[in-house]
Amino acid sequence: MMFSKNLYRNKKKIHQKTGDESGRGAKLFLSPVLADNLAHIQNELGNSPDIIVKLFEIGTSRTQAGAVYVDGITDKNMVNQYILHSLMLETHAGVSLEQDQNVLAFINANALTLGEVIVLKDWDSVILSVLSGNTVIFFESTEEALSGNTKGGEQRSITESSTEVVIRGPKDGFTESIGTNVSLVRRRIKSSNIRLEPFKIGLVTQTNVAIMYIQGTVEDSLVQEIRIRLQNIRIEALAGSEHLEELIQDQRMTPFPTIMNSERPDTATGYILDGRIAIFVDGTPFCLIAPATFFMYFKSVEDYYQRPEAAVIIQLLRYAALIISLFGPSIYIAAITFHQEMIPTPLLLSLAAQRESVPFPAFLEALMMEFAFEILREAGIRMPRAIGQAVSIVGALVLGQAAVEAGIVSSAMVIVVALTGISSFSTPSYNMALAIRLIRFGMMAAAALLGFYGIAIFSIFLIGHLCGLASLGVPYMSLSPYVPEDQRDTLFGQPLMTNASNPELTANSNRHVTNGEDAPSSSDSPLNHLNGSGSE
């Protein structure tokens, strides 16, 4: 009788809760009756079969308790060993539970052999806790519950990053688990100044998001800005970091990415040490890095693992490739259509001979080939691996050779398009390469309309647009405003900066000194820790 009454009361409250969208007005608290609580949670979660409810008695005290967890997202070994086993069997015989003693405090102090246990009082936090993979334990005649961290279950192990490949350097990559990702970075920065701030985003998904930065290295205003942007997100579901990127970026109307992403923990570490903020999103193996500048997208972490001389040359090569992939086809179009006099005569003769049989204007020819190449590229990404060879045969033979022989395109155009395509692959960041790909078509149209003049004007528009962009309020074109110390890294790569070439050892202590505010005692420095442990 009493049971049903309680249930009724709870139901009414549930209705109230669903009516009240924000859910903040009326907080719903646990009931002292164990069966009541267990029934409520099962009810709330829709009697799902993967919600495991286990009733048991604690040790010898005969106190009733119930453990609730979700199968699949919890570590079963932990639940069995540290919660059920220790509560049911190993409760010390010597220490017996007095009648008037608080069950909760007793269990927490004597019986639970878990590191992370918190006390919960209201239903919202209980439900969230269960759904996050924790095990929640209810006790008879107690209006509070214990939640033990038993998160686990099947996860992808740490594997090498597939999107950012390096020849030399660490082979670990981020995974879908936010905890693993944070730990990968933490392992690399053993500083007490590192800060991790958690957020929950998405009313339905309740996705874990965390920002990580080094206090003192990063400007406080940036951290404040990102906090505000994250807190202001009102959204039902957060799909992943690319979704978050869209929600917190400065400008909507731009093809350029204004927030960097990386799958590599060493890249993230480097940028955190640089004074930037990393944003981790649970369920995505790409962490976001802000503020980003245009030139960051043309650096690869590889540059830091190779000799500086080689790294500088390779970086310059990458910028050259950027220019080719942006201007390649448009310069060809402009030269063929408007400025034939600029081409040296022997070359012009051979080009004219090639183009003799081609019925299309250069712009149309270029557009056709670029279009075909983009289709090939897209097909290459989406198709199953087994038919890869078929695509390359079609691409290389049919679209290349046969098209030239049939007189549809000139062979010079095939060379230009191929060079452009290869160049665009040398941009380390895929989303920047995408933006460049898009803009290339605009540039081609401008060249077809007005030759070099069109290219020049389009470039002014482009640079004007880039200069107007900002990432977290920091200008996107870091070349301007010009700060010489910032530029060394842009042009010459990190190795010239002694303090950055070996971040774990020296960067932190140096930063502190320059920061001036809280210079650490020398024993704080990670270098000393390392030395100390070495001498022992």
């Binding site: 600029m342 070099f452 020049a456 640079i463 004007g464 107007g468 074109m477 301007s480 010009y482």
Partner: protein, 367 residues
């Protein structure tokens, strides 16, 4: 946009160089200075520096006001308003002149099939876009383009030198006609164009971040641009001779066509055209910005950036309609350089005297 957009000294430096080189790099300057054009340019530099110091002085006296603002402070609203309007009209007209020059060079070089209206419209749309983005963006763009401009200059100079086209004898005799004619070429001709055009910066210095070094930066920029300009014109005369230099419309263009290096590097025309496009773009944009700033001030218009559209459209129309032919355009240019610009500079000097007298008078009265 924040209340005060800040420009860094480097950006100012870059912009003054771009502005000074602008069209002056490409067209013959100093109307018939010929052999000694390079010397006249050097001689005109002190005048440019003094003018710049005058501009900085005004900015120091009225740090929050632009030209039209302190004109009204000095001579009162009733006289000040029409004078400001005069500057506004001049800025728009000169911006249009620059556009016209670029358009004509483009048409003569390789766009004889393209309607001039289209070429002008494309350029003005870029100007409107950048001004609409704000002065901060404009100066950042300038900082990037100065690098492009300098690399174009270095490559072209190397090409010209190694092609062996330079004949130093063309520059002799130095001072063949004596000091008098060289100085008379410098003042007022070269002093007015390109140095006199610095009066545009009366609307820009308010936005500077570190005003203390504004003077030093600006003077350094003027010296640097003078050296570049003088060198370029010396090379031009050395390559094509004083006679052709005076007769041709775009001497730099003629010079670059003579370059022939290793059979393959024959055509650097596009470099000159590119340099001209960049130079004209910045010159026009600064003029258009100055015009929109003054217009916003004298008509008390809150959103200055929106004035980019009307100012741009007017510049476009003036550039197309002001002269029917290039010779007519050049004649108008002579009038501008010889009469209008000197008057505007003189007004500035006059304002200085009025300001100084007022200041003296006021302090006397307070004592």
């Amino acid at each position: 946009m924040s209340k005060m957009s800040a420009i860094s000294p480097t950006q100012l430096f870059a912009m003054i160089i771009l502005f000074e080189l602008g069209t002056a790099l490409v067209v013959p300057i100093g109307l018939g200075a010929g052999t000694n054009a390079w010397l006249s340019i050097l001689l005109a530099m002190p005048g440019g520096i003094i003018l710049y110091i005058l501009i900085v002085y005004f900015d120091k006296q009225y740090p929050t006001l632009i030209l039209s603002g302190y004109i009204r402070k000095i001579v009162g609203a009733y006289i000040g308003w029409p004078i400001s309007l005069l500057y506004l009209v001049f800025f728009i007209y000169n911006s249009a002149r620059n556009l016209r020059e670029a358009g004509d060079l483009l048409i003569t070089s390789s766009y004889d099939q393209t309607p001039v209206v289209f070429i002008h419209a494309v350029m003005i749309s870029a100007v409107i876009y950048v001004i609409h983005k704000g002065i901060k963006v404009l100066f950042r763009v300038g900082e990037i383009y100065i690098l492009i401009m300098l690399s174009l200059g270095i490559i072209s100079n190397i090409a010209v030198i190694f092609s062996g086209a330079i004949d130093i004898r063309n520059l002799l005799p130095i001072l063949g006609e004596g000091w008098i004619s060289t100085i008379r070429n410098a003042y007022p001709n070269i002093f007015m164009f390109p140095f006199g055009e610095l009066i545009c910066f009366t609307t820009i210095l308010t936005h500077l971040k570190q005003k203390k070094i504004a003077r030093k930066t600006g003077i350094l920029a003027i010296i640097a641009s003078t050296i570049l300009l003088s060198m370029t014109h010396a090379i031009e005369v050395a390559v094509i001779g004083a006679g052709v230099y005076n007769r041709t419309t775009f001497p730099l263009f003629t010079v670059i066509t003579t370059v022939e290096l290793a059979e393959y590097l024959q055509r650097l025309d596009s470099f000159v055209i590119l340099a001209l496009i960049i130079g004209v773009f910045f010159k026009m944009t600064i003029y258009a910005y100055a015009a929109s700033a003054i217009a916003a001030d004298i008509f008390s218009f809150q959103e200055q950036r929106k004035l980019a559209y009307p100012v741009g459209v007017i510049i476009f129309l003036v550039s197309v309609l002001s002269a029917w032919s290039f010779p007519e355009h050049n004649n108008e240019g002579a009038t501008v350089v010889n009469i209008v610009l000197p008057v505007l500079v003189a007004i500035l000097v006059l304002l200085l005297f009025i300001h100084l007298i007022k200041k003296r008078f006021m302090t006397d009265r307070t004592i």
